[in-house]
């Protein structure tokens, strides 16, 4: 009986500690995303959600939000310049430079582009960053991620997290204005 109670307590404790934590896959070195406060001052768009990665992509941060009515309804995210303009990289630092042409990406049924950047931060550090912008009709869903790791690893981890059911549900709700 005492053992059973202990097991229940451990399960509850682990469950509670897992609130707000998203585990990508049961792999040995998985990426675990923990929600943190939105770190940027208010701007023209409602605040989104911010996450910090522990584990495989430790130190990487990801910022996501909907930008409703900000997209060409027919063409969607047409080119890399649009990713530069809308993906919120400038929230992290206004000093960024693309390191390569972007690539087409999809999140669920939404299509758009992702691009890699070098960021110069105010403390003199240089980070790799990823900007992602996908569209649903006239609305945008954008994500920016930064970290000390390789840009390609940051991008893989960010896209994998954005493809989780929890994030897809939230993205749909955000684009619906909820």
């Amino acid at each position: 009986m005492r053992c059973g109670a202990a097991i229940v307590a451990v399960v509850i404790a682990l469950g509670v500690s897992g609130v707000g934590t998203y585990r990508l896959a049961p792999a040995a070195e998985s990426a675990r995303w923990r929600e943190i406060a939105w770190p940027f001052p208010r701007d023209g768009w409602p605040s989104g959600r911010a996450f910090r990665c522990d584990g495989a992509c430790a130190g990487t941060e990801l910022y996501v939000r909907a930008k409703r009515g900000f997209c060409n309804c027919d063409r969607g995210v047409a080119d890399d310049d649009e990713v530069d303009r809308v993906a919120d990289i400038d929230l992290i630092s206004p000093r960024f430079a693309a390191v390569a042409p972007g690539e087409e990406v999809g999140l669920g049924e939404m299509r758009g582009r992702a691009r890699r950047y070098d960021l110069d931060l105010s403390d003199g550090a240089r980070h790799a960053a990823i900007g992602i912008a996908v569209s649903r009709r006239c609305d945008l869903f954008v994500a920016a991620a930064q970290g000390r790791g390789e840009a390609s690893a940051v991008q893989r981890a960010a896209l994998a997290f954005l493809e989780t059911p929890e994030m897809k549900v939230w993205a749909t709700a955000a684009l619906d204005g909820e």
Partner: protein, 481 residues
């Protein structure tokens, strides 16, 4: 007692539901109006309308009206004059008799739906006013969807003739054309710039032979730049060589900027688009709240302000009226409205007042479609200039503002057209689908030298020609009708 409370609650709920219901527009219901009266209408072939320009041409008055692309349901409406399905372009309407507008011609535009097609913008100059124009010609400058600017000779407005085309663009928008010099500030998307919309300045004094002067934009938008990209241009308005200023409005419904530019330095300064060269002609810029954009930046310089008449300094003020554009249906964003900036001290512009339609006056957030401002009249004809401004306010129709004291603008009239069977629905996403409503969407407004007010509808309801009545007419100094 309990029964009384229940009865009272029921009455309150009934009253509330009736009030809400009363705000929904229905076909056949009369327009809503105060101090404005309907003179005439035209359905514009049920095409979604953008910019109207009214031109006095010989002894006729001609309205040139730009259109957005078609809709999902009707990508290319049938032109009853030709029997052909035509992509939305430019409507040309004889409004000499405003009570009986006569549709002359539909000039098709770029294929595509909504913002991706049509021929949304239009300006008109007489050949005799342009330095090198054909004196017998009347030139219409229009956008061709997102890909080009075109100039047509519309001396015979029913039979326009294409003169020239400036193409290869990734977007276009609300340009400005000085009819006395021919200098045109074309809102374009040059392919190598980092923004969808910037300025290409052309000498169009001889419309058959456009001469490029330079490209212009905010530093950070130019080719090869890195870092944050400033808000894209919406449109400029120039005061010409005499005023020597160009007022650029950047942003639509977010992060607006009013930029004041020295026209002479802009035209004759170094033209290579480097950050320094782009900064060279700028006098100042006024960032707005991130909540609002600058769709229209309408200058009204040297305005006498009665309240300041006895002051030793500052009796007259240079004012710029800034109009934001609402984008999202059913109030899905911060309110877009009208702002007045005092730019008398050009390097220290300051916002001094604002105006919005009170939402509760018509429960506009529940009516459907967009609620908020979009654009103002841009005519500087003496009949209304610096006295009265007209604001297109989507589902709240057009609003007449007495702006003689720009520190305290005052609404003196309004007109909300009735919807028709042509009025298109406007939808918002809801869980598992969308919900649609039908409401008027007054998109643009323009005035003519006679004082008629022309409003056009984004939701396909057509053109309505109005006149002021009562106190609003008196405020404008117009004779009684």
């Amino acid at each position: 007692m309990f029964r009384c409370v229940l009865t009272a609650a029921g009455l309150v709920l009934f009253a509330c539901s009736t009030a809400a219901h009363a705000q929904k527009q229905t076909i056949g219901a009369p327009p809503e109006a105060s101090n404005m009266k309907l003179v005439g209408t035209n359905d514009l072939q049920a095409r979604s309308a953008y910019q109207p320009t009214i031109h006095h041409q010989g002894d006729r008055w001609i309205a040139y009206i730009g259109h957005h692309g078609g809709t999902d349901d009707v990508p290319a409406p049938v032109n009853p004059m030709t029997g052909q399905a035509e992509p939305n372009g430019t409507s040309i309407v004889d409004v000499t008799d405003p009570a009986r507008p006569k549709y002359l011609r539909h000039l098709p535009g770029q294929e595509g739906k909504y913002e991706s097609g049509g021929a949304q913008m239009v300006r008109v100059c007489d050949g005799k006013s342009l330095p090198k124009g054909d004196p017998n010609a009347v030139y219409m400058l229009r956008t061709f969807g997102s890909e080009a600017h075109e100039i047509w000779n519309v001396a015979d407005p029913a039979n326009p003739v294409l003169i020239t085309r400036i193409g290869g663009l990734k977007d276009t928008h609300k340009s400005w054309w000085e009819c006395d010099t021919g200098v045109a500030f074309l809102v374009s998307g040059a392919p190598d710039w980092r923004t969808r919309r910037m300025t290409q300045i052309y000498d169009l004094s001889d419309p058959a032979h456009p001469q490029k002067i330079r490209d212009f934009g905010l530093p950070g938008q130019e080719p090869g730049s890195t870092g944050a990209v400033p808000t894209e241009l919406h449109g400029p308005i120039s005061t010409g060589p005499n005023g020597n200023r160009v007022f650029f409005g950047y942003g639509t419904n977010k992060g607006g900027i009013l930029q004041i530019v020295d026209r002479e330095k802009l035209l004759s300064g170094p033209k290579e688009p480097t950050p320094d060269n782009l900064r060279f002609p700028e006098i100042s810029r006024m960032p707005m709240s991130a909540f609002n954009g600058a769709h229209t930046t309408f200058p009204m310089l040297d305005m006498p302000v009665a309240e300041f008449a006895e002051d030793k300094d500052g009796k007259t003020r240079d004012i710029v009226m800034i109009v934001d554009e609402a984008i999202l249906n059913e109030c899905g964003e911060a309110r877009q409205m009208v702002w007045f900036a005092d730019v008398t001290t050009e390097t220290r512009p300051m916002m001094i007042s604002s105006y919005t339609v009170p939402e509760a006056s018509g429960q506009f957030c529940q009516r459907g479609g967009r609620f908020g401002s979009h654009s103002s009249n841009e005519s500087m004809a003496p009949v209304y200039y610096k006295k009265m401004a007209f604001i297109a306010f989507f589902n709240a129709g057009v609003r007449a503002l007495d702006i003689r004291d720009p520190y305290h603008p005052k609404e003196v009239g309004y007109f909300i057209p009735a919807i028709t069977k042509a009025t298109d629905k406007r939808c918002i996403p809801i869980e598992g689908g969308e919900r649609c409503k039908v409401a008027i969407q007054t998109n643009n407004v323009e005035t003519d030298d006679r004082g008629y007010i022309y409003i056009v509808d984004r939701a396909n309801t057509g053109l309505h020609i109005l006149e002021l009545t009562g106190p609003a007419r008196a405020a404008a100094g117009l004779p009684r009708t």
